[in-house]
Every structure is written in structure tokens, then in C-alpha cells.
Symmetry: C2
Subunit: 275 residues, 2 copies
């Protein structure tokens, strides 16, 4: 068997078209939609991602500024900038790009992003609201996983979903989104014993650990749907997922990297800005 | 085999003794510790629970007021009172008792409790902070489960933990606490297919659904540790757990109801007030 390829490009294009329409209306009304991305890193992969968001924003007719605070920025510097942007009525969305400078912890500074402008769901308040079912922005990556599963009509109610990775930006919020859709949800991580035994119970398996090809055919039940959130840089400047391509011989469906979750993530981020 | 009985009474007594010592010091300093419990229900089980907290608080030397807003209270009434108590420097802890009047949703009003006084972890902000590892009060019941497991030296790192119940006051925060302790965590609920198959994978099984004796021996793997969070009223005025007593023949250890999680919950709630 060869897995169905769950590409995200068409869905992303549809979301971007909707965003462009709403951004144009905003612009016509004299009030363009504006996203500000705060960075404090010279990480290459991060810079590439920020450029791709800025480019997509530009194409969709959104204003997008990058506020680079430099690698010497302190937690106070970053918090102050995030608070200032949150208070600025000309800014619709504020995103803080990781990695942060050594010693600066995301959760300590992301609270300075006002939840209403927290388009990438970085503020712990957004996560808490999400967990209890209140309106809140989910991290765009987590939301993209669910949007992609919906796009291909993958049933979640009653399904066994296993998420590999417990980060505050993907694994944990995704667990809440999947629970909210009535899946039975398991979260695995680096300390999980016999990972393959656990992941093999999944109807829907999501890999979000950031380790190239960690998930192999032995981890996957015949006929499972596998979502690959990994975007690991390769030696030749490309991207590799967390899922070994050989999984396509076991899974019923698999999202590609690149071209799967990634484009949907960017599109949803822009959608949150115009929302 | 008969399961070891994981009683919570000794642990609760030790916590209460520590609380009493600190409460006495506060009183000597002319600044007694004060808990206010806000209620808006005439539910009998709830009234019983509130009385038991007030009694335990009194014995530990804490001031404890009950602010009964009546069953006609609106969400605005409740939020306003919670905000007022949060702003009152004479109040150390604010707890909102459920059930709430029809149409009032806990998550909509609990945000009015300032996180620093949110001794029962009801504010979604507390849950979000907990999820990302920031200091926050966990709901006392969820914290009590982990404290009881620690009391009996039940290893959590690498263990498979299954939580039955996805409520915002027990299941979800408990999942985060267990993840934080490096367990592999699964959350089940009413829509879970083949519940027994999932729960049978658990090294540590926690029942927190509020349905009398829902968990039977068929749900439990030989040698599992089972924690019963249920406090279901019985016809004769007693309490029944979510776990069928017959589970004691399969499990390695089981918390009793009453006398298991309950007393530890009350003790931790008081500890949060003096913290």
C-alpha cells in the first residue's frame, strides 16, 4: 500500500485567497491589517521562516513588519516590545519568533502579548482559554494539523489520536484541540517507554518532535493517518519531516514535508491577523 | 490479590498540621489567613463539601467565609463578587464552588479570580500557566492525585497514565501535571471507543468522571495503580467512587472513597491559602 498524500497546498491557497479578500476590504476602508513579528535570533532556519511569512503576508495584502531586537535582547526588552505592540491600535497581530536568546524563556515573555492579538497562540492565557473551550487563538501549527485533517475528512470523534511531542507550541495545544473534537488523546515524549507500542495504537498519529525521521514504519499501525509537523533542516538546504518516508508503505495517509502542515500554518496565521 | 489501600488521611493530616503552624504565625503577626468560598447553588452535596472545607479551615486556624450569592445570581453578579474579593487585601484565597446557576459557565466567570488568589486553580489563566510550566495553582483535586501518588512512591516518569474524564477542573489539569512528571498521558472520556482497551494499558489509572463504579475489573490491568477521584452521593447519604470496589482484586493499589483523594484535596486547598 502507498499512503494517500495529504498535501496542504490547496487548502492553504483557499485560506490565503479568503485572507486577501478581507485584507483588501480593510485596505479600502483605510485601515490595513498589520502583523508584527518580533525576533531576537540570528538562527538561519528561523530567518527563513520569518521571510516566508512576510512574503505570504505581502502577497495577501497584509502589512508585515519584522522587529528584530537582536540576540542581546533581554526578557525585559522583549516583554516591553510585545506589550507596546499589543497596545498599538495600528497593529492587529503580534507574533514572537523562536528561538529566543539564551536564558529567555518563551512562557515568561509571551504573556506580554495581548490575547486578542496573540495570532500564534503563544500567551499561556491563550492556551488556558483554549483548554476550557473559551475563544482563543491556538498556535497556528496546532490549528493547521486539525484543519488539514478536516480538509481530508479524517474523522476525529472517538478516534485514538497519539501526539508525539509535548511542547507548549504544538503538542499540548494540539492535545486540547483533538480532545475538543472528541478524540481519545495520548501525548508521548522523550521519556515515553516503548514509543512504538504506544504510537501503534493510533488511528491518527501526529509527529511534532523536531527529530528527522524519528517515526518509522514500526511506529505506525496499518491504515493509520500520519501527520508530520517536523521541519528539520537538511544538509542540502531542504526540509525533512519527523516521519520516515517509508511510513508511506504502512500508513493509509501521510502529510508531506514540505507542502503539508507548513503552508496551512502560515495561511492560518495570516487569517488570525485579519480575524 | 488484594490491592494496597492508598489512604489519604495521614498525608492530609500532615499537610493540615503544616498549614495550622503557618496560619498561627500569620495570626500572631496580626494578619490572619482568609479564604472566601463563593457559592450560588442550593445543591446538597455542594453544601456538604463547603461545610467540610470551612470546618477544616477553622480547625487549621484560617478564617473562612462563605459568600452565598443565591441561585438567582447572574454571571455578572458572580464575576463582580470574585473581582471584588480578588482586590480585597484582607482575602488570601478565593474559591468558586460549583454547580453554578443554569446558564452560567464556570470558564466565563472564573477569569475574574486573580491568579495569585486562585487557590483552586479555576481561572483558565492558571491552567494555561500550569501547562507551560509557570508557577500557578492547580485545581486542588488534580494536585491531590499527584500528591497521593508521591506519598506512596508511585513512579510516574515513563509510566503510562490514563485519565478517564476531561473536565477543566480535574482531567485536563491533571493531564498536564502528569506530563510534567514525565508520564505518557492518555485522556479518555464519554466518546472514547472501547474504554476498557484503553484503560487496560495504564500503569496508573485515574477515574474522574463522576459516575458510580464506572471503572470495573475489566478496565484494569493486573498490577495497576488506580486512583479514584469520584465522590458520588449514595442513597444512604454516603459517598461512592467512580471505581467498583471489585477492582481491588486486580489492581496493585487503590485509593479508597471516602478517605483517599478527598482529604488531601481539602488539605491542599488550605495550603494554597497560606502559601
Amino acid at each position: 500500500m502507498t499512503a494517500r498524500r495529504l498535501a496542504g497546498t490547496d487548502l492553504a491557497a483557499r485560506i490565503r485567497a479568503e485572507v486577501a479578500e478581507r485584507a483588501a476590504a480593510r485596505r479600502d476602508a483605510g485601515r490595513p491589517a498589520r502583523l508584527v513579528i518580533v525576533t531576537a535570533t540570528d538562527d538561519e532556519a528561523s530567518a527563513w521562516y520569518v521571510r516566508s511569512i512576510a512574503s505570504a503576508a505581502g502577497k495577501a495584502g497584509l502589512d508585515c513588519d519584522v522587529a528584530d531586537l537582536g540576540t542581546a535582547a533581554t526578557a525585559d526588552d522583549i516583554s516591553a516590545r510585545l506589550a507596546g505592540l499589543s497596545a498599538d491600535p495600528a497593529v492587529d497581530g503580534v507574533m514572537l519568533q523562536t528561538p529566543l536568546p539564551p536564558g529567555v524563556v518563551l512562557a515568561d515573555v509571551s504573556g506580554a502579548i495581548e490575547p486578542a492579538k496573540d495570532v500564534d497562540g503563544a500567551n499561556p492565557v491563550s492556551l488556558g482559554r483554549l483548554a476550557v473551550g473559551l475563544p482563543a487563538y491556538a498556535p497556528a501549527t496546532a490549528a493547521a494539523v486539525v484543519a488539514l485533517l478536516d480538509e481530508y475528512a479524517v474523522g476525529l470523534a472517538g478516534a485514538r489520536a497519539v501526539v508525539v511531542g509535548r511542547s507548549a507550541v504544538v503538542g499540548k495545544p494540539l492535545a486540547h484541540l483533538l480532545l475538543d473534537r472528541d478524540a481519545t488523546v495520548t501525548v508521548c515524549h522523550s521519556r515515553t517507554r516503548d514509543l512504538a507500542e504506544v504510537t501503534s495504537t493510533a488511528d491518527v498519529l501526529v509527529a511534532a518532535v523536531g527529530r528527522t525521521h524519528l517515526v518509522t514504519p514500526e511506529h505506525v499501525r496499518d491504515g493509520a493517518v500520519v501527520v508530520d509537523v517536523g521541519t528539520n533542516p537538511t544538509a542540502d538546504g531542504g526540509l525533512a519531516g519527523d516521519v520516515d518516508p517509508a511510513v508511506a508503505e504502512v500508513a493509509a495517509a501521510l502529510t508531506p514535508v514540505p507542502g503539508g502542515v507548513g503552508p496551512v500554518t502560515t495561511a492560518l496565521l495570516l487569517k488570525n491577523v485579519v480575524d
